[in-house]
C-alpha cells in the first residue's frame, strides 16, 4: 500500500544532475578568465562581459537549487542521468567502443575501423543476436562508405592498410 502511494507521487527533481551544466559553465568561465588575466584588452572585453553574466546566472541557479531542496521539491541526486538503469552498462560499453573507434581509426583507417566498430556495436545493442545480419550490414556499410565518400567524392578519410591497398589497385 505504502509502495503504491510512493509510486503515484511525482518523483522529485534530480537537482544534482541539473547542476552539472551550471557548475561546468562556472568552472569553464573561471578557467577562461584565468587564461586572459594578462592578455590585452581586445582579448578580454567580450569574454568578461559575457562571462560575468554567465557567472551571475549560474550562481542564481545554484542558489535556487538550495531553495528547491529546502522546500522538498528536489534532492541532490543524479538519477536522471543514469535512467533507465538497465541501459547504464549498455551505454557505457557503447561509449567505450566509441572511444576505441576514435583511438584506432588513425592506425587502421576508415574502412576496417568502421567495420569493426559497427559489428561490435550492433552485436552489443542486439545483445548478441542477429549476428549474420550485423556482420553483413557492417561490411556493406563500411565498404559502401569507402566507395561513396573516398572513391566517388574523393574525400580525405583516415587512411589505413585497406585504403593504402586500394590506392595501389585503383
Amino acid at each position: 500500500m505504502q509502495d503504491d502511494t510512493e509510486a503515484s507521487q511525482p518523483r522529485k527533481r534530480a537537482l544534482g544532475a541539473e547542476l552539472v551544466i551550471p557548475v561546468a559553465a562556472l568552472a569553464f568561465t573561471i578557467y577562461y578568465f584565468y587564461t586572459i588575466l594578462e592578455a590585452p584588452w581586445t582579448a578580454q572585453a567580450s569574454a568578461f562581459f559575457i562571462g560575468t553574466i554567465l557567472i551571475i546566472l549560474s550562481l542564481v541557479f545554484i542558489g535556487l537549487t538550495f531553495r528547491w531542496v529546502a522546500k522538498g521539491e528536489g534532492d541532490w541526486s543524479f538519477h536522471t542521468l543514469f535512467e533507465p538503469h538497465e541501459y547504464v552498462k549498455l551505454r557505457l560499453a557503447l561509449f567505450a567502443l566509441t572511444v576505441g573507434y576514435i583511438a584506432v581509426i588513425s592506425f587502421l583507417g576508415f574502412t576496417i575501423t568502421t567495420f569493426l566498430f559497427l559489428v561490435l556495436a550492433m552485436l552489443l545493442l542486439n545483445r548478441g543476436r542477429r549476428a549474420k545480419l550485423c556482420l553483413s550490414l557492417s561490411a556493406i556499410l563500411s565498404v559502401g562508405g569507402y566507395l561513396l565518400f573516398v572513391v566517388a567524392f574523393d574525400t580525405n578519410f583516415p587512411e589505413g592498410p585497406f585504403e593504402i591497398l586500394m590506392n595501389g589497385i585503383l
Binding site: 559553465a25 577562461y32 587564461t35 582579448a43 572585453a45 567580450s46 536522471t80 557503447l94 566509441t98 545493442l125
Partner: protein
Amino acid sequence: MEEVSFQMFAELFFHTLGFWWIIIPAMLLGLIVGAIPGFSAANTIIILLPLTFAMEVEQGVVFMVALYASSRMGAGIPAILVNIPGTAGAAATPLDGYPMARAGLGQQALAMSFVASTAGGLLTTIIALIAMPWLAQVAFFMHSVEMIVVMLFGISLIATIAAKNTLKGLIAGLFGLMIGAVGTDFVYETPRATFGFLELYDGIPLVPALVGLFAISEAFLVIEGESILTRRGKELMDNPSWKASIEGIRMSVKRWWHITWCSLIGLVIGVIPGAGASIASFVAYQQSRSYSKTPELYGTGHPEGLIAPEAANNGVTSGTLVPLMVIGLPGGATAAIMLVVLQFHGVNFGPQLFGERPEIGFGIFMAMAVTYLLMIFTILPLSRYMTKVTIVSTAFMAPVIISFTLVGSFVPREFGFDMALALGFGVLGYIARRTNYHVAAILIGIILGPLLEQFFLRAIRMANGDLTVLFSSRIGNGLWIALVVTIALPYVLDHLRARRRRRETA
C-alpha cells in the same frame, strides 16, 4: 544595368532549363551532401573545384548553384527524421520536425519541409532577381554596430527557444557563447581557454560541435527504445500511404503566407554578409512563435515551427548571392567559393556584370529558380520513401550514426582531434538533454560567439573605446527598438491572451 523585361527573363528561363542535364545530378548530389553532417555544399564544391574549373563558365555556375540550393533542402531530412541537422542552418528544424517524426508524421513533416524549402527558395530567388539593385543596398548599411544588434537578436532567441525555463535557456546559450569564444583573439592572437591544444587556436570548429551536440548525444539516447517512434507513431507507420505526403503538401500550401514572410526574413538576413542561415532560421522560428495563436505548442511538433526555419534557410540561399553579384562581397562560405570559381573564369563583379554578361549576372539567380522548380518533383517520392529511416531499429541506427558522423567531423580539417572533440560535445549534449537544457541554445551560442566578439571589437576600436558607439547609428537604434519589441512582444501577447480568456470565462 541591362534593361529588365519579361521577355528577357523568359528567354533566360528557357536557356537555363536547357542545362537540366547538369541541374538534376547536381541537385541529387546536393540533397545527399546536405543530409550528411560535415559534407556542406561549400566542402563539396571545393572537392569538385577541378570539375567546375574545367566546365564552361555558365555550366559551372549552374552546377554550383543547383548543388547549393538543394543541399539546403537536404539538410532538413536528417534533422526531421533522426534529430541530426545536416548543416548548422538546419539546427532549428528538428525543434518541431523531430517530434512530428517520432509521432509517425515523418512523411507529412518531410513534405511540409520540402514545400517550405522549394516555395521559400523559389519566391526569394524571383524577388532577388527583380529587386537585386535595391537589396544590395542592405549590405552597404550594415556596419559593426548594426551587426551587433542582429547578433543580439540571435542571442535573445536562446531564452525564447527554451521558454519552459528561461534561466536554463540563458545559461545554456551563454555557456555556448563562452565556448564559441575559445581560441586566439582577433587582434593580438592571444590564445584563450584552449587547454593547451593547438587544434583549438582557430576556435571551436562548428562541425564537431554540431555532430556532438545533436548526433552523438541522440545516438546514446535512442538505444533505450527499439525505434525512435512512439507507440502511436509505430501504428501510423505500419500503414504508410501517399495520403500523408499529400496532407503535408496541403498543410503547407494552406500556410503560404507563413512561408512567404519567413523566407523574406531569410532573404534579408542572407544579404547581410556573415549573418548566415543558422541565424535566419532561428530568427524566423522565433518570429513565427511570437505571432502564433498557439505558441505553447512550439517544440512539440507544430507545423509552423517546422515551416519557419526551412523557408528562412532557403531564403538565405539567394540572399547570400546578392552582395556577391552586385559588389563582389560574398554573403557566406559557399558564395565565397563561387566567387573564386567565377574569378578564375574571368568574371568581374559589380553592376556592369548585368549589362556585359546578363547570362551570368541574372543567370545565377535563374539557375537557382530553375533548380527550385525541378526540386518540386522530388517532394512526393522523397517524403514517401525517406521516412522509412524512422522504422530502422535503433540497435542498427545508433552505431551507424556514431561512426559516420564522427568521421564527418574529421573531414573539414582532417584532425583526429576533431572526432574526440565531437565525442566531448556528445557527452555535453547528453547531459543537457537529460536535464532539460536546450542543445540548440548551446549551438547558437557557439555559432554567434566569435561573430559577436569580432563585431564588438571592431565597433569599440573604431570609436576609441567609447561604448556609446553602440547607439550611434539611426539604423542601429531602430534595430535596438525592434529587438526590445521582439523580446517584450511574447509576454505582452501572453498577457493579452490571458486577459481575453479571463473575460470569456467570466
